[in-house]
Amino acid sequence: MDEDQKKQRDEMIARANVAVQGAAIEFVSTLNKRVSDLEKVIIQNDREMAAEMAYNIETEASTFGWPRVTRICKWLRKVFSGEFDQKPEAEVVLKALNALKLMVADPDHPNEQRDSDLFQELYPDLKNIVSDI
């Protein structure tokens, strides 16, 4: 790749990064509502829709830098699509959902330390049910 091509490529990537930042702002503004919608579907016991919604939030959260939200949603996706090692108890699902709700309660001001502690506390229960999270 010559200098001109490299420069052109760098410019393309810089423009795309700006576009991704714009999408990240939009994602944050909808995160709370999306998790609330996921909760409603779980309460209605619509497993298929719950798995799909959890997958969507999982992939978006991973794209925009929300690692713990990503992992809890991955766990929920696996639980609702039946890919678990041990049948989950409702209490654990509720705990995971509550942790998720707290993490996204004020997405403009995320609390890294609180979210990290919360996830550490939850992790053994989640891991027992789905080993690959």
Binding site: M12, I13, A16, V20, Y55, N56, E60, T63, F64
Partner: protein, 172 residues
């Protein structure tokens, strides 16, 4: 084959997650891709594929209860489209376990890009899929790009001894 300029590319995005589809759209638009079509359902994507000229497809694995793979198989085996069955297909997926990768490879995907994806990865996979095409294999058990990326020259397998040669349709 001449390198295809990014401004001349026509790309189809099939993803039921409109947020991710829009993000991918923004990335490709920022690269300067000439035409980008976004489809939320496989039915819509299939219609677009059969009626428009497409240079590359991005499709999500989980779409409509994992029917994305059936869509890929259909493209690889159907001759009634404006497009060649060897059109590059990039699978974008949040699932990167071994089973998913093998299923995708066997369905005939060209490249796999795992979510989260960055603009650098999208550009690299796109360039590789469009400008660095592998030989296209059409045999009973498999239709898709050659699974071997390296073009090793192994003297014992050259010429008449190379049984793979009969299955390869060279697209160059």
């Amino acid at each position: 084959m001449d390198k295809i300029e990014i401004k001349d590319l026509k790309i189809l995005i099939a993803d039921s997650n409109l947020f991710i589809a829009r993000t991918l759209f923004s990335i490709l638009e920022a690269f300067g891709v000439g035409k980008i079509i976004v489809c939320e359902t496989l039915e819509e994507a299939e219609k677009q594929y059969y009626n428009s000229e497409i240079d590359c497809i991005f499709v999500d694995f989980m779409m409509e209860d994992r029917s994305g793979l059936e869509f890929i198989k259909k493209i690889r085996t159907n001759r009634s489209s404006k497009n060649s069955p060897d059109v590059p297909i990039i699978l974008d997926t949040g699932m990167t376990d071994r089973k998913t990768i093998i299923m995708a490879r066997d369905a005939g995907v060209t490249e796999i890009i795992s979510k989260p994806f960055s603009p650098e990865q999208v550009l690299q996979k796109l360039d590789n899929a469009v400008n660095n095409k592998r030989d296209f294999i059409e045999v009973e058990e498999f239709v898709g790009p050659n699974r071997r990326r390296r073009k090793d020259s192994i003297s014992d397998w050259d010429g008449e001894k190379d049984r793979r040669r009969s299955a390869v349709k060279n697209n160059k």
